[in-house]
């Protein structure tokens, strides 16, 4: 069993992955049964994570796993349950297949042209990043780029997430202030047992992913998504997080990540550096500080987005 066989096996695996992904993407789009479409999309997320791993992008695979398994499936299923009463699946109107095929061929041609016109030996920025790793304060290149070299982008992403929540809240109904469990929901002992065992583990794994991000795939977004999944699980088990978390503690938690990022970004300017130019000696610690705050805020924001309700102003009694 030599290297050639390994290569051949990997080629076969990649081929199967691409085939499965294309089928899943097509079927989930073409499904007239919305539930079927959702399940196909969940499966698509699973296979996509495998594909990211094969593309040597374990950071993206981790994010896909956390968001796909922890958030998207639950979000789509919950949305479907809210839609179910309001719409029946309308019979799909058949537009002219000729037009469809013309459009498809044109799109395929454009995409094909784009791929063919890519330079054969793209230099990329990998070498530049590798040569500057010593100045980053961390050992994992992806974390170095996200939090240090291109920290500005990540800061704006945090702000975008916050804006998304504000937009969702402006459209959402206000949640009841009650703090108790959903009355209608009879919580079975199995749900409670799963809840009690999994929530602490999820928080622990989120902390682990945050920590490991300094030298291996992981980081604030992955950790935040796992934390959000813990929140989603709590909501699904009938816990009223919106009632429990309200008023200024919630709002403080939501802006903590962005605020910490801005505070650090500005604080380094006091020492005469540029915005987000961390001093080398403390870069690692500053990045961990920002990421810890960001993890917390990302988790809270995503869980609140899942809940879809605007919490009340004051804390529950």
């Amino acid at each position: 069993m030599g290297a050639a066989m390994t290569e051949a096996g990997l080629f076969l695996l990649d081929l199967l992955l691409v085939l499965t992904l294309l089928c899943l993407a097509w079927w989930s789009l073409a499904a007239t049964d919305l539930f079927k479409g959702i399940v196909l999309f969940i499966a698509f997320g699973l296979v996509l994570a495998l594909a990211w791993v094969r593309l040597d992008a374990p950071d993206v695979a981790l994010a896909e796993a956390a968001i796909g398994a922890g958030l998207t499936g639950a979000l789509l299923l919950t949305t479907l349950s809210k839609l179910a009463s309001s719409i029946d699946n309308p019979p799909a109107k058949r537009s002219s297949p000729v037009l469809l095929w013309v459009l498809l061929v044109m799109l395929a041609a454009v995409l094909g042209y784009a791929i063919m016109s890519l330079p054969q030996q793209a230099q990329g920025l990998a070498d530049t990043v590798a040569s500057q790793m010593g100045n980053s304060g961390v050992e994992h290149p992806v974390t170095a780029v996200l939090l240090n070299f291109r920290g500005y982008d990540t800061l704006l992403e945090m702000a975008v997430l916050l804006l998304a929540l504000i937009a969702a809240w402006s459209l959402a109904p206000r949640a009841a202030t009650s703090c108790e469990m959903d009355e209608a929901l009879t919580v079975s002992p199995i749900v409670l047992a799963l809840f009690r065992m999994l929530i602490p583990l999820m928080i622990l794994v989120a902390a682990y992913l945050l920590w490991v991000g300094a030298h291996a795939p992981g980081g604030a977004f992955q950790a935040g998504s796992v934390l959000a999944a813990a929140g989603v699980l709590a909501l699904l088990c009938g816990k009223r997080l919106e009632g429990r978390l309200a008023g200024w503690p919630l709002r403080l938690g939501l802006v903590l990540g962005t605020a910490m990022f801005v505070a650090v970004a500005a604080a380094v300017m006091v020492g005469g550096a540029h915005l987000l130019q961390y001093p080398l000696a403390s870069a690692g610690k500053l990045i961990l500080l920002i990421e810890a705050a960001a993890t917390f805020s990302i988790g809270l924001t995503l869980a609140m987005l899942f809940s879809g309700q605007r919490p009340s102003r004051g804390p529950a009694s």
């Binding site: 096996g9 079927w27 499966a43 929901l185 992913l209």
Partner: protein
């Protein structure tokens, strides 16, 4: 040894593709959901095999996240989105406050 792991991973991916038939055919929502659950376990198995074969320990963390969060989707399905007839004793939506 590595090529053995990769062969098994390919076979597992093939079983996943076969399981898709159940998702496509149904007939009920539960059948589709159960198939998705099996895919989750299959994906974990493939990731663990590849982590060993390719020497990429980060893949085990991806598998860990999948294993940890497998419950969330099923919970959403059972509590929120089981379509068709409601359970006999109660209506368990929490969206009745949305008008």
């Amino acid at each position: 040894m590595d090529s053995f792991f990769i062969t098994v991973a390919c076979l597992l991916l093939l079983t996943l593709m076969a399981g898709l038939w159940r998702v496509l055919r149904g007939p009920t929502a539960v059948d589709r959901m159960m198939a998705a659950q099996l895919f989750g376990t299959t994906a974990v198995a493939i990731l663990l095999l590849l982590a060993e074969a390719l020497g990429q320990p980060a893949m085990r963390n991806v598998a860990l996240v999948f294993a940890l969060l497998a419950v969330v989707t099923v919970m959403a399905f059972v509590h929120r989105a089981w379509p068709g007839d409601e359970p006999r004793h109660q209506q368990r939506g929490r969206h009745d406050d949305v008008e």
